[in-house]
Every structure is written in C-alpha cells, then in structure tokens.
Amino acid sequence: MKQAGTKNTSQKRFLLDQRQWWLLATIVAVLVLLSPILCLFPELFKPLGSAWNNLKETVLPAYISNTLILIAGVGLGTVLLGLSSAYLTSMYRFPGARFLRFGLLLPLAIPSYIAAYVFSGVTEYSGPLHLIGRGLGQNDWHVNIMHLPGLIVVLSLVLYPYIFATARVSLESRYNSYIENARSLGLKGTSLLLKVILPLLRPALIGGVFLVIMEVLNDYGAMKYFGITTFTTGIFTAWFSMNDLNSAVRLALMLFVLVALLSYLENWFSRKHKVTESTRSKKSAPKKLTGVPAILAGIYTWGLFIIAFITPVAYLAWRFTLAEHGRAIDEWFTLGRNSLLSGLAGVALILLIALLTQFTQQLIRSKLSRVIGRSISIGYTIPGAIIAIGVLLLSSGIDHAIGQGLLLTGSFGMLIFAYTVRFSGVAYQPLQAEAEKRNGKLFEAAQSLGKSPWSVLKKVYLPVSTNGILLAATLVFIDITKELPLTLILRPFNFSTFATKAFEYADDELLSKAALPALSIVLLGMIPVLLLHRTLRAK
C-alpha cells in the first residue's frame, strides 16, 4: 500500500506548485488578452484636440441617435421575425416546416456587410427587383432601401436567426413540459402564446437580443455601405480620415460603456426573470395545419427563407457569372491562402489560451478561476473596432519603447493577437459545455488515482475534450474568416482576406468582383449553422 505524501521533497514541492503554475499562466494569459482594452483608459486623461470638440458639436449627436435607433430597431425586427418563424415551425406542421427549422437558420451564414450590398444591389435601379418591376410594366416603380430604416430591415433579415434558434430550443425542449401542461389545462392559440409561451421565453429572448445588439455594434461594413454614421463608423472616420487617435479612443470608450451597460442589464434581467428548465420530455408532435392557415404559415416562413437566404445567395451567384472569371479565380487563391493562414494561426493561439483557461478552471475550482474563465469572453462582447484601437495603442506603445521602428504595429502577429482577444470566448464556450457535460468528475477521478495535473491534462482532459476542441476550432476559424472591422484596421500592408476584399470591392461598387469572396464566406459560414442545427436537434 502506498503512503500519502511520501514523494521526495523536491518532487513534492514541484507537485504542490503545479496548480499555482497553471493558475499563474492563466492569469498572465488573461491579463495579456485584456491589455488592449486596458490600454484605452489612459487615453482619456490626455489633452483633448480640437478635432474632438468639432466632432462633439457636429456628428456625435447623430452617432448616438443612429446607434440607439439601430439597436432598438434591429432588436425589435429580429424578435418579430425570429419568434414568429420559430413559433410556426416548432408548434405547427405545414409543407416544408421540417426543412425550415434548419433553413431559417441559414441567413446566419451571411455577414451583415455582405447582406447590405446584396440587398442594396437587388433593389437598386438596375437590380433584379426593378427589372422585374419594369417587366411587369411598372416603369416608375422605385424602391430605395439606402437609409436607416432600410438598414434596420437588412440587419434584421440576417440577424433574426439568433432569436429563432433561442426560441426554437425553448419551445421544443427547455420549456416543453410547461407548454404541454398549459395545453392540458385548456389553453391554446393566442392565450397560450400570451399567457405562457411569451413570459417563459422572455429571458431567452433578452439573451438573444443582447447577442443581436452586439452584432449590430460590431458591424462596420453595412453601416459604411449604407452611409449611416454610428459610433463604429465614427471610430473609423476619426482614425482613418482625421488621423485623430484620441477621438477614436473616446468614441470607442463611449461604445464600451454602452456595451457594459447593456451587458449589465441583460445579466440583471436574466437573473430577475430566471425560468427553471422543465424536465426534458419527449416533444409531442406539432399540430397539423390545413387549408388557409397552412397556406399563410407556408407563405410567411418560405417567404422569409427566400428573402433572407435564397435571394442573397442567388444574387451573388448571378453577379459572379458577370465577373472576369480567370482573374477572379487567381485572386480567390491568394485571398483563400491569406484567410486560411490567418484563420489557422488564430485558431492555434486561441485554442491554446482557451484550453489553458478551461483546464485551470477544472483543476482549481474556485471563484478566482471562474472569474478568470469568464474574463476571456469579455473580448467577444466588445466590438472589433474597439479592440483594434486597443491593439494599435498597445503595439505602438511597445514599438515606441523598443525604439526599433514599427516591429509590431501593422504586423501579422498583432492581427492574430487581436483575433485572440476578440474570439477566445468563442472557443471557450464549447470547451466549457464539454466540461460541464462531464461535471468535472472525470478530472477528479483521475486526480484521486494519483495523477498530476499535467498527466490529467494529457491522459484525460484532452482526449475527452476532442469534440469540444474541434467545434471550437471550427467556430473560431469561421468567425475569423468573416471578421471585417478588426482585419481592416490591423492587417499588414497588402494583406487581404475574403472579408476585406469583398468589402473593398462592394465599397467601390464592383459588386461582380465582390461576389466570389462573398460567396466563399457564405459557404464557409454554413458550416457552423449546420453544427448549430445539430446541437439544437440534439437538445
């Protein structure tokens, strides 16, 4: 029989310290990740330039009002579209309802900046909509969506799947028993919806709306294309057009305060209105619709699917047929190589950090390790433009300190670091879900068998987390490929990805040239949608 604690002293000291080393490494990693955000704050105390006063007096009110109108409008639009379509496809059976449970998630694959120029292209004077109108004899028919309400509609069309997914999982599994219980008490139709379903879904909807708002605040391409000035476009203007870092930082911090406030409200609301999940019961078959209700439900949901997904994809494909194919394909390989390179480098670094943080949280189950775990997700709630400014400040500060010119600023390494700041939370979530599934017991079991933390990592944690690691890598890779504002600001000279090229061409009204990189992003974006659908179905 072995004896407890009988290892020799040096080995014992090493073992005793292993957890502390893990914790220290995680704290350092998280501090490095947060450093660009922390770098913003000292800028507040620097003297104000005249540009800021000018900006404050002229465009700042518009930034504020446009941003607030946009988030309110898109929030409402996504709730209306997402909730109604989820309700119809989850609770009723009509032709195509089963497919639409997946199909209605697909617009998530279309980045908002691509949707912006696609819908603008579809509705412009020489676009398909007007061509159809003229074909039908409506020569003076004119649709213009290049304004704030138009942008709200476009963003709602690509962001509603956040609400759709949340509502679908709630209706089909999480609160299924409550809904069936209400039905057994005689509630149906509108009274079931208003008295039971909506109150139950409220916290989930608020969570979904928060994600939608984060996406809106992170958007740059769509706003720029529509010419709507908001905080995000303001940051770009201050930085690129006015070369005024101080103003850009101030705008970034104002946006940061807005995000922090929204995050606090979301947290508070979720806690206050928390609904305990009902016991998972097998979902009863949806009610079959016939006659006029079935036709109306079909028109609405298929219409949404066609407008939000089929139209953009078909438009891009049509535009691609008008492009000069030889050059476009040559360029596609260069863009593909750059996107692949930045994606893979980002995935490697992000996985390293997320695994380190997650494993430390499993190893040391304390409040501190939980807080550190949550901290790496902060970057995901902060718009890319803010992170980009923070990374620039940090890299220029270090370059200045080293005094050897621009070593870090504008380097590929800093771009990857910025992706790590922004997307570590994306990798952390699947790893956390995988660990929660195991309830930490496997790692405790290995420790009780005398295994050191390193051995637990190698022999148990990594092998059992394979699915989580693969999922995390896929999600991060695709997020990096789609990412625009951060890449636009921080990319090295002459380095373009699918996202930046699609945006540049679209911004220059070269929509046919933009089609191939845009289609590539949409096709790549369908992979996580497929994974999401599988997860929802499993739930």
């Binding site: 189950r365 079991a445 009780s448 068998l449 059992v464």
Partner: protein, 314 residues
C-alpha cells in the same frame, strides 16, 4: 493509531454552514458508513477527505501525517485516497482494462487481470464503458480505485444506481471484496439498510452535525436521540420531557386483546408484515403486524418494557 482522524471539521458555503465540529476516526480495514439525509453534509465530508473540498477549519490526519489543517492542504493526487463516484466517472475514451491500468503504478504487484477477475469482468476487458451495464460500470470503478492501492477508499452513494433486486448481492460482493483486500473504506449513503448491512461503524450526520457514531447494533439498540431512532424505522414516543423521550420501535409493539386501547386508522403492506396506524386516546401509534386490519377495528397495543429505549430529543 487510527488510519484517519477527522477532528473538529467545519465548512461553510458562503453563509451556509454545512459542517459543524465534525469528528470521527477510521481504523485500518474498517468500513464506515456516513449516513444522513440529503443536505446533511455527508458528501462534503467525503470530498474533504479526498482533497477536493477545502474545509473552513479543523484537521484531517492520515496516521500522523496531516492532510489538512489551517496550514496544510495535501493535493488530491498526493493523498493516496481513492474515490468511487456516484456516476462512476469512467473515462469514456479508454477500455475497461485501460481504465484500471490508469490508476496503477508501473510495476504494480497485481495485474489488471487480477482486478478484472476479482470483480468478475475478465471477459469485458476490451469493452468501452458505454458498452457496460450500470452494475458492470460500478464494478470497473471499484476495481480501478482499488488497483491504485489506496490507503482509504471513498464511495459516494455506491448503491443509488443499482436496481433494488440486485442490491443485496452487491452489498455482499462489496463487503467481501473490501474485507478480502483489507481496504479501509468510507461510503456515503442515505439508505439505512445499506449502512446496517455493510458498515462496521456508522457515522450519522444531520445538518452538518454528527449525531452518533457506533456499530450498527449499537445504533439500533441504543440510539442517541429521536432523529437517529427515526432513521432506523418508525417508533412511538411513550413518555416525553423537555430533554428526553422514552420510545418503543414499531416492530417491538404488538396488537392483541389487552393493552392500550385504540382503533385502526390504516394498514400499509411492507412485504412480510403490515404497518398499522392505531389512534389511541392521546396520540397515534405505529405497530408492525402480521396481517392487515380493516379501518376502525378496535385493537389493544402491547409492548415489553425492556424494549423501550430512552433517547435525547433532537
């Protein structure tokens, strides 16, 4: 010298005190049951012994080596204390054989085959955990923990996932195995039958406070208080004052033609006997009886005074 000594263990979760001055000892080769309802603190004690929970204060010693006190917290992997989880926690990516191998030292005296044959799973060596039944998984978990040659084996609710029909056999198997290997063990249970059947000594916990420590017969025959008495079955209070009560267990009462008069309220079948609720002038009694009685039947309750027990009020 005791193998494990737990002294004055206190533990809080925030403001919630889950253990209060918990003390007991475990001797070499002894099987201890930690018995209590959910929330009594028994799993916290188990996790504190394993090193996964750091108590607020107190001391845990293995012989004269301190595992925990205000200055020391020996890590779980250094304690040489095995833990069998309630849901077994078998490594899903490893076969049965590899699961057992993981805990063994390189030159372990007993081969994996020895442990497999000991738990009757030699044929299952290459299967994955998800290809085994619940009972087989539990045997693997026990073999895995024992193959690491722990000084102490901890088992969290080892019978909670076992069908009632198989429990008897499992209790017997586990006790035989532990005794054959001379392994000291602590197991957590909320089921009195498990504790009485297997344990050499039972530690009864309520709201984080040890109520009584003793052998199963001591606890059955001389319960410390009404709570402990109630854990081992229904009883009647014959006499009660501010500090103590005189009680008689339901199985020590009989229904006959003389004694305390009453009428039958209900009969509940419980296998070999019936539990009869009888309303008397002052209170309601519970008595065991060999056959059911119809409601409102007039009966008389008897008991022998030597079977009465004086206990503290809890």
């Amino acid at each position: 010298m005791s193998l494990i000594t737990v002294e004055q263990l206190d533990h809080h979760y925030g403001k919630n005190k889950v253990l209060h001055a918990c003390s007991f000892a475990i001797n070499q080769g002894e099987i201890i049951a930690l018995l209590g309802e959910s929330g009594s603190g028994k799993t916290t004690v188990l996790r504190a012994l394993a090193g996964f929970e750091k108590p607020t204060s107190g001391q845990i010693k293995m012989k004269d080596l301190v595992l925990f006190d205000k200055r020391t917290m020996v890590k779980p992997e250094q304690r040489n204390i095995g833990l069998v989880f309630q849901d077994y926690a078998l490594f899903p990516h490893l076969s049965v054989k590899k699961n057992i191998e993981l805990g063994q030292e390189k030159n372990a005296a007993q081969s994996v085959e020895h442990w497999l044959s000991l738990v009757g799973l030699s044929e299952m060596a290459n299967r994955r955990p998800d290809q085994l039944s619940g009972g087989q998984q539990q045997r693997v978990a026990i073999a895995r923990a024992m193959a690491a040659k722990p000084s102490l084996l901890l088992l969290d609710e080892p019978f909670s996932n076992i069908d009632e029909s198989l429990k008897f056999e499992f209790r017997h198997e586990l006790k035989t195995l532990l005794k054959a290997e001379d392994v000291s063990a602590v197991f957590v249970t909320h089921d009195t039958k498990d504790a009485l059947a297997i344990a050499d000594k039972i530690v009864i916990l309520k709201d984080g406070v040890v109520q009584q420590i003793g052998t199963p017969t001591d606890i059955y025959n001389s319960p410390e208080n009404t709570y402990v008495t109630g854990l081992l079955g229904p009883f009647n209070i014959i006499k009660e004052d501010a500090a103590s009560s005189t009680i008689i267990r339901a199985e020590a009462c009989s229904l006959g033609e003389t004694g305390i008069p009453g009428t039958v309220v209900s009969s509940m079948f419980q296998g070999q006997t019936y539990l009869i609720n009888v309303r008397t002038e002052n209170t309601t009694w519970v008595c065991e009886h060999s056959s059911p009685l119809t409601e409102n039947t007039a009966v008389f309750i008897n008991y022998a005074s030597e079977h009465t027990i004086k206990v503290n009020n809890s």
